[in-house]
Each structure stands twice: as C-alpha cells, then as structure tokens.
C-alpha cells in the first residue's frame, strides 16, 4: 500500500506543509512551534521565582522596599550583606542548622528506605493472614489504657505494661475463636493510609511521648518522627516496583539455596535500582523540607534549616527578605546535588529497562 497522500511530499499544500508531520515520528512545523512555545513559557514560569529569590539575596533593604529592581549591576548594585550576615556573622547558627538538617534527613531517609523496602518486599512476596479479632482486641486494650492514662492520670509506664499483659492474655485465650483474617492487600492499605493522617493530629501526643523519654530536641527523635512520616510513601512506591519484577528469577535463586535476605539484597534490589533511586530522592526531599514536626519536636540544639527560614520572619522587624532568600538558596543546593547524583541511577536504569524490554 502506498503511503497516504499526506506523506507524499511532492503533493502537499501550504496548509499540509505547516500542520502535517513530514514523516512518521516527527512533528509538523506548526506543531513544533506550539510545543516549544508552551514549554518555553512554562520554563519561564518555573524559573522566574527562582531567579527572583537568587537575585533578592543580593539586595539591600531599600532595593526591596522601594519597588522592584530586576537585574543586578543594571538596576541596582548587588551587595553581599545578607550572605555575610548568614555565613560569616551568624555562621555558628547557620552551620548548626545545616548539619542538623543533613544528619536528620540522611538518617531518616536511610532508615525509612531500609524498613520500607523490607516491608514492601515482604508484602509483595510473602503471605500474611493477621486475624481481625486480634487486631480489634489490640485496639480496644490500647484505647482503654490510654483513657486510663490521660483521663485518670495514672502513670503511663504502669498502664502500658498492664495493657501489654492483658493483650497477650486475651490473645492467647481468645485467639482460637477468631476466624476472619485480613490479607496482604489490607496491610498494604493500612500502611499507605497512614499518609492520609494530617501530622497535626499526632504531633501533640508524640511530643508528650518523646518528652517522657527525653527525645525532644535530639537528632534521634527527629529521625524517628520523620521516618514514620514517610514510611507509607516508601512502602507504596517500592511495592509497585517489586511486584513488577518477574518472580522466576527469585524462584530459581531459591532453588539454588539462597536465603531470603540474600535474594533480597543481591538480586531484587539491584534490579529495582532506578525505582530505589527515585524513591530515595523523593523521601530525601520530603525529609529535608519538613517543617511542622521540626518546630514541635526541637527547641534549639536540633533546629533544622526550614526553621531557620521561618525565623527570618522576625515579626515586628518585618520579613528579612534578603537573608531569607540566602537561606532558601543555601537549602536547595544540596538537594540539587543529590538529585544530580541519583539522576544517573534513574536514567541508567531506564536505559537498561528499555534495552531489556
């Protein structure tokens, strides 16, 4: 069959030359113009705020208050006073927040990815059948214990110990009678639905909990809180990647005598490198930028960068826009570096996948 008229280059009208693609897999000139224009406009929309933030970090107060000035050296003389304030005068504070952010974010990300991938792998490959009755009993006992602690003021160590004892006793006694079970899908849904929980709901009890065991204003406390916050996402994404892997590879490895953990570590994880890299990057970004939990769970020693940003809103002195922009710029640099590093894994993996498939 000969090619349709629109691909017969000799017989094309002006309209067709503009709007029909010259060959399969390419774009018509008019389409090209539209596409590049739209993408260009969006690039402008994305880049302008960032440009504005960078440029403002070099402005003096009057350059901000007296009306907009756009281009350094042309509209105004850039000044390093904000950078100096943050990196020289207040260097101790800035450095401390920076280090705290690093330690907490990386720690939480590592913990979250490890625990999350293990759980996701388990849900993808192993069968779980928790009994509904046991779960309901647990919740009921917990509720009773909390009511007693909060409303009757009994010491929490006592009620928690008692609750655990009661629960185990009940589980043993009534366990046989519970028949209804839940499956992997339900567990997965439960884990993922934790993400729906607005942090504001849990932050006060967590504050009180941490305060009782001395975890307020510590790195460990923040790491634990952040990990739990992002566990659902890690589990969700890794579950998708794991279930996409062909099971034959693992089955043959099992026959060869490999341990579960060995399979996980040496076969499954390397295959999901791009997925792992993408999930790690996402969780890292979320941890790096977390504000609400940092505000509640730290006072001074463990303050992270987002709090430094908020502190630039000095209330009745006004927002120190110039220093705030410096903090924002300084905050985004490590993330970009991290993204560049992990990007190679993601891209490589995609290529591998394309070749394979």
């Amino acid at each position: 069959m000969s090619a349709p008229a629109k691909y017969d280059l000799s017989r094309r009208s002006l309209f067709e030359r503009l709007f029909e693609p010259p060959r399969i897999g390419a774009m018509a000139p008019a389409t090209k113009v539209i596409v590049y224009t739209v993408l260009g406009l969006w690039t402008l929309f994305v880049v302008f705020p960032i440009y504005w933030v960078v440029v403002t970090s070099f402005k003096l107060p009057q350059h901000v208050n007296e009306g907009p000035v756009y281009i350094p050296f042309v509209d105004y003389m850039p000044s390093l006073h904000a950078w100096q304030a943050l990196l020289v005068t207040d260097f101790g504070d800035t450095l401390r927040s920076y280090i705290n952010s690093f330690v907490v974010s990386i720690g939480a990300t590592v913990l979250c990815i490890i625990i999350g991938s293990m759980a996701a792998y388990a849900l993808a490959r192993m069968q779980y059948k928790p009994k509904l009755g046991i779960i309901l009993t647990f919740v009921a006992v917990l509720l009773a214990a909390l009511v007693v602690t909060i409303l009757a003021g009994v010491d929490w160590k006592l009620t928690m110990a008692a609750a655990l004892a009661v629960f185990f006793f009940l589980a043993r006694a009534l366990g046989k009678h519970f028949k209804a079970t839940l499956g992997n899908g339900d567990i997965l849904f439960w884990i993922i639905s934790q993400r729906i929980l607005p942090p504001i709901v849990v932050i006060i009890p967590i504050y009180l909990m941490f305060q009782q065991v001395g975890l307020i204003d510590t790195h460990l406390g923040l790491i634990l809180a952040y990990t739990v916050g992002n566990l659902p996402i890690a589990v969700w994404l890794m579950y998708d990647f794991f279930s996409g892997l062909p099971i034959e590879l693992e089955e043959s490895a099992q026959l060869d005598g490999a341990t579960r953990f060995g399979i996980f570590w040496e076969i499954v994880l390397p295959l999901t490198k791009p997925g792992l890299a993408a999930t790690t990057l996402l969780v890292l970004i979320l941890n790096w930028n977390e504000y609400l939990m940092a505000v509640f769970l730290s006072t001074s020693k463990a303050q992270t960068m987002p709090i430094l940003v908020a502190a630039m809103n000095a209330g009745d002195r006004g927002i120190l826009w110039w220093t705030m922009c410096v903090v924002i710029v300084v905050m985004i640099l490590p993330v970009i570096a991290m993204a560049v590093i992990l990007q190679r894994f993601i891209a490589k993996g995609v290529l591998l996948g394309a070749v394979k498939g």
């Binding site: 006073h81 006072t299 001074s300 000095a314 209330g315 009745d316 006004g318």
Partner: protein, 493 residues
C-alpha cells in the same frame, strides 16, 4: 554589623581587663549556663546575645539564646516548663503572658533577689512598669523593654498642608483623608494617608485596642476596658467599641490597598521609605527614623502620646455620651485620652525549676540588662526593639541627641513617651490567663473578618463577646475575676 561585633569585643576586652562592672563578681558563675528562649531576629534576641558576651566575660556564666518563631514562643515555653522538660532557664517574652505562668507556679519569685540588688535602681523604672514587674505583690519579671502604642505623624507633610497634629480619632481620619494621595517622599508617586498593620494573626488586635481604649476607659487604669471587674462580663458589645471598629475600618480608605495583608514589617518598610502620613505604632519608629535606611524620613516623624475621644461610653446604657469632667475626670479640653500599653513589653522571667546556681546567674543577667548603664544605651538604638521604660532614659535628651536625634525630635519624642507613661488613665493590655486567646485569637479573628467584609460590626462584637465568655468559662469564672482584679491593680497613681 561588624561595628557591633567590634563593640562587643572591645567591651569584652575592657571588662576582663578592668575586672568587670557587672553586679556579680568575676568568675562567680563559672561553669553555669543560662539558657534563654526568645523570639528570633536581631530584635530583642541580638541584644541579649551581645550583652551575654559581656556578662560571660564578667562572671563566667555562659549565656545561650535560643530563638523560636514568635507565634510559637509562648507555646514552647509553657510546654517546656509545665511538662517538666526544663530545657529553658529564662524566657524573654511578652510581660502579659507571665500571669498565666505565674498562676501555674512556674515562675521563680525574684523578690529576694531584688531586695539584695544594689544596682537595679527600681525607683528609676516608670511607675507603670515597676508595678508591671510584680504579680500578686511579688517581683516575677524584669523588663527589658517598655511597650505602649502612640500615634506618629509626618510633621513636614502636615505643615505643608496646613494641618494640625490630630487630637482625636476623628481628627486622625480627617488628616488622613486630607493628605492621602499626596507625594510624601518626592518620588512622584501618590502616597498613603494612614498605614496600619491590619493583617490577621499579626499585630492588628493591638491597634484596635489603642483606638478603643480612649472611648471606654475614663476612670484610670484600675477601671479597665475589657471586662466588668465584678462579673467578668465582656464590655465589648457597645457603641464605643462599635465606633472604634467602624473608624478602624474607615482608615482603610486612606491607606495602602494591601493593608489587610500588611503586618508590622510591611508597614515599617513603607514608612521608612517615606510613604505614610500617619501611623499607629509602638515606640520604635522614634529611634528607627535615624537609621541609615530611613533617610527619607529622618527627623520628620513626630509622636503624639495618644489620641482621644470626645464621646465616651456610659457603662449603664452602653451608649456614647459627650465627655464631661464628671464622667471623664482625666479628660483635657473635652477629650478623654487613654494610652494603651499594648503588649506590655518584653520581660524576662526565670524557670522556678532550674537549679539554684543557674537561677542566681539568670537573675544577675536579667538585672544587668535592666540596669540603667546598659538599658539607657539599648533603648536609643532602634534595631534592638527595646523601648524606653526608665525615667532616666526620658529625662535626658542628651542621650538621644548623642544617638543621632535632632533636638526638636528628641524633645517631642520624649515628651510623648513621658506623657503616656505618666498618664493616670493608661489602659492595660490583657494580663490574665488566656490573654493570648482573648486578644490574639478571638478579637483578632473577628476583627479580621469584619475588615474583610465577611461579617457586620454588630456580629463581630457579638462573636467577640461570646468567644470571651467561652474562654472565661474554660478557665473558671471565679479564678478569672480574681486574676483580672489583680491585673488591674497596676496603676500609675
């Protein structure tokens, strides 16, 4: 900034060489760390840090200042002290918040320390603030800054338009209307008659009280203008507050279009650039106008202690009646004034549960900040956020002229401040449990909704009344009556 650092270093070297001029002996508090928590930014905190360095050189005690966003400050201190976390030894916060903390037994009684303190010179502190430092007769706070609101006007703009400085709030409106749209800083752009920080969750709820106080309180500080002292019934749903609300909204016609989203940082940026004719503000604009970035208004922003009303509230009927010497004994020429001590001032309080040596060192530091030698310098510097509260600061214009004030400005500014501080009808801010909820939440929210046109003024006032009653119920009406009467005991007489 580097100048400040140099100053601090010089002081440190000087102090260590001459063996300290502080109230404690050298090395007395070696190994002690005083942990302070306050709001962030140069304001308030930076001075604590700078003086902390001097204090360390003099006594060996380390001073650590932790900064927490203002909106969360009270929360964090209260939670820290009431849950026993005790990671903070000294809180520097709004003096009005102390009543709630003191009522819960969380504050250290400083009276014994004050009795032994030879350098404090309590008598020098203006009477209103001296009494403010006491709760139930005991010294619980040491001020570092005295706050109340005044009205400022651009002298040059008013003179150029043949206007007199306003005396009443109706005058304020008239002046604002007359100068709105004129070019006040020579850049060819129309500027604004009046700039007020009307943003929700910012400082708007202070300004409205500055406006309303003069219409409601006539018999002196002990009368109060928020509640009936015997029943705690809110006194807000009446013609006086209604007139205040309506006037407050009306000023919006002669202000920047964005006023509803302006907090104090925005209005300060505006008036420093010379774009505002009238302001409701604290004491800061006085010293602020001589800073480098305020060149447009240096020496031009004059102050008035308070504006008044020529009609006041008749408490029996809830209606406005003209001012007479009987119903307003402190009125002048038929106008009743009631300067509003908005915010009270930044003050330091000590955690009752810190260990004794730390508490001693903490007191010594707060005293050091409060003493005339340090305080008198600090209040002349605009960016510190510290405003005058000692008589020695106000009686001596040379201090201010040395800092850069033109002579006529110094006279006017000090006169206005003294006028307010010594006014027997000074109106107090909320200083009872739930203070933040009464003003910063209920009053602020309903005011914002009224300004945004969401509700009518009658609905706003009714909602405020209902909201205040709920808070009173929550805390226990009888206890609140007790606390309210206690807080009104503060007076200038």
């Amino acid at each position: 900034m580097s100048f400040r650092k140099m100053m601090a270093c010089a002081l440190m070297v000087g102090a260590s060489m001459f063996g300290a001029a502080a109230s404690a002996g050298a090395g007395e508090y070696d190994g002690v760390t005083v942990r302070i928590m306050t709001r962030p930014g140069k304001v308030i905190a930076q001075r604590l840090i700078d003086r902390g360095v001097e204090f360390t050189a003099a006594t060996g005690a380390k001073v650590e200042v932790a900064e927490v966003p203002f909106a969360e400050l009270f929360q964090k201190i209260q939670t820290d002290w009431s849950t026993g976390t005790n990671s903070v030894d000294v809180g520097v916060f709004a003096a009005g918040w102390a009543i709630e903390l003191a009522g819960a037994g969380l504050l250290e009684d400083m009276t014994p320390y004050v009795a032994k303190d030879t350098k404090l010179d309590e008598a020098d502190i203006a009477p209103y603030f001296r009494a403010f430092q006491k709760i139930g007769g005991k010294n619980m706070l040491l001020m570092v800054d005295g706050d109340f609101q005044m009205v400022y006007y651009r002298k040059d703009v008013l003179e150029a338009n043949g206007l007199q400085p306003p005396k009443t709030w109706d005058d304020y409106l008239a002046v604002a209307k007359a100068i709105h749209g004129k070019d006040m800083n020579g850049d060819g752009e129309a500027d604004y008659g009046s700039c007020i920080f009307k943003k929700r969750n910012a400082q708007s709820y202070f300004a409205i009280q500055t406006v309303a106080a003069g219409a409601v309180q006539t018999q002196g500080t002990t009368q109060g203008f928020h509640f009936d002292p015997d029943t705690m019934k809110p006194m807000v749903n009446n013609e006086a507050w209604k007139a205040a609300f309506e006037l407050y909204k009306e000023t919006g016609k002669y202000g920047p279009p964005e006023e509803l989203n302006f907090d104090i940082g925005d209005t300060r940026g505006l008036f420093k650039a010379g774009r505002c004719g009238l302001l409701i503000e604290w004491g800061d604009p006085g010293p602020m106008q001589i800073e480098e970035d305020a060149a447009a208004i240096k020496g031009k922003l004059f102050a008035v202690s308070a504006l008044g009303w020529n009609k006041v509230l008749d408490r029996a009927t809830g209606k406005l009646v003209p001012v007479t010497k009987e119903n307003a004994p402190y009125s002048i020429d038929g106008v009743n004034y009631a300067p509003f001590a908005a915010f009270g001032g930044w003050a330091g309080a000590i955690n009752a549960k810190s260990d004794p040596k730390t508490k001693e060192a903490a007191y010594a530091f707060l005293s050091y900040m409060n003493q005339a030698a340090q305080s008198n310098v600090d209040v002349t510097i605009g960016w510190t956020g510290y405003n005058a509260y000692r008589n020695s600061q106000l009686d001596n214009p040379d201090l201010w002229i040395k800092a850069g004030f033109p002579a006529d400005l110094a006279e006017n500014y000090l006169g206005a401040v003294k006028g307010a501080l010594n006014n027997p009808n000074m109106a107090s801010d909320f200083t009872l449990p739930g203070a933040q909820q009464y003003s910063g939440v209920v009053l602020d929210t309903e005011l914002a909704r009224y300004l945004a046109g969401e509700i009518t003024v009658d609905e706003a006032l009714a909602n405020i009344e209902a909201g205040w009653e709920q808070i009173t119920e929550d805390f226990g009406r009888d206890k609140q009556i007790e606390f309210y009467k206690l807080s009104l005991g503060v007076s200038n007489k």
